[in-house]
Symmetry: C2
Subunit: 233 residues, 2 copies
Amino acid sequence: MATRNEPRTEPRIPLSRDRVLRAAVKLADESGIESLTMRRLAEEVGAEAMSLYYHVAKKEDVLDGIVEVIAGEINEAVGRIDVPSQGAAWKSAVRQRVLTAREVLLRHPWAPRVFETRADVSPPVVQYFDALIGLMRDGGFSYDLVHRALHALGSRALGFTQEMFDPGDGAGGEESSAMLEAMAERLPHLVGMLREIAHDDPDSTLGWCDDQTEFEFGLDLILDGLDGMRETA
Amino acid sequence: MATRNEPRTEPRIPLSRDRVLRAAVKLADESGIESLTMRRLAEEVGAEAMSLYYHVAKKEDVLDGIVEVIAGEINEAVGRIDVPSQGAAWKSAVRQRVLTAREVLLRHPWAPRVFETRADVSPPVVQYFDALIGLMRDGGFSYDLVHRALHALGSRALGFTQEMFDPGDGAGGEESSAMLEAMAERLPHLVGMLREIAHDDPDSTLGWCDDQTEFEFGLDLILDGLDGMRETA
DNA sequence: ACCTGAACACCGTTCAAGT
DNA sequence: ACCTGAACACCGTTCAAGT
């Protein structure tokens, strides 16, 4: 039925909250979260900025919405996991879920930042945590310990950490080793550490952090600690 | 020398980067970080918005700057600590520093968010971490383990965590226990946990989280885990 | 050297009006 | 019911001009 030679934008599908949110995710994925403005979003969806307001209340609503979309994606991925969780198995069950959530978030690098700025937890996130609590209960955790565990995990439960150091930028290449020596007096311990790490992994030129390895280390540290506290009746 | 009855704003002190940054911190403390705009900041300091650009490059520069101011405040507080850190004492030494950093941050609730959005680590923050690394070395940590430890601690090393749940809002009072029952089917584990926690601490009406207690729990969990990994030669 | 007025490009959002 | 044009208040920032 489609006529063949019109301007061929796609003004076919009518706008909807869902379509707006999906476009917002796409825009953030492709151009970064800072380029997600109501005007650019409208453009992306083939409408005027003001049309968006018929489907979302305000920009904050869009941000709430894209968090829900991503959390939904996580729940879908995590829902495919079917492993035992009774007793000692709780740990690997939780670990696998967290790492799966992480995989999803790695596809949306802007998402953690947006997650953190939401005032209220959205339903799919709540859903995710409910399941996580269930696994810990299977492992013999008291509700009180589960509660503490969730705080201890923090955002790690959802598969991300906020790194304080991200030496990706200033630490690239030859100049940095010279810089290192210059800092050695004021920052002996830090320089000592960097020197050794650079030595251990020479071809990474101070791209010193394998995020995945570090993430798993921190996660296991916490999970192991918690494991020692549960009631192994 | 001051004449007595002029409009008495304070156009005395000339502008400076330092004065701009201090005003920015004051503004954020009093009105929240979202009200820190170049125009409001200029007003605060008794000048026009455009005058600021003589002392700072751009708004990002202001944000970098206020992070440095806060980190400086932390370093000052932490610098007054003088406790042993050799061997097993490393843990309490680190713990005390982290909790001291946290005290400072609690006076600037907007600061964690700004810390997290900085691309590069500022000198005072680097300084803070250098000292922390030193303490862990005193405890017998290899550089490699120190490195992992810093990742495991993440922002906790600076005294804050990003909470995923902040039930301060929606969870206030009578309505919430009704809401709880309504959710019981879809979210059995979460509701179970909340029920018990509300029961344990009835007068907090679901203000279920003593942030300080939870922070210390998570911190100790990590520190204890790390303690078991150091070389106790 | 330090500060400013006018102006620009770009936001989010309202509102009355179109179909 | 759904979309839009014009307009408003407010951003960050540039630039030429003032002292």
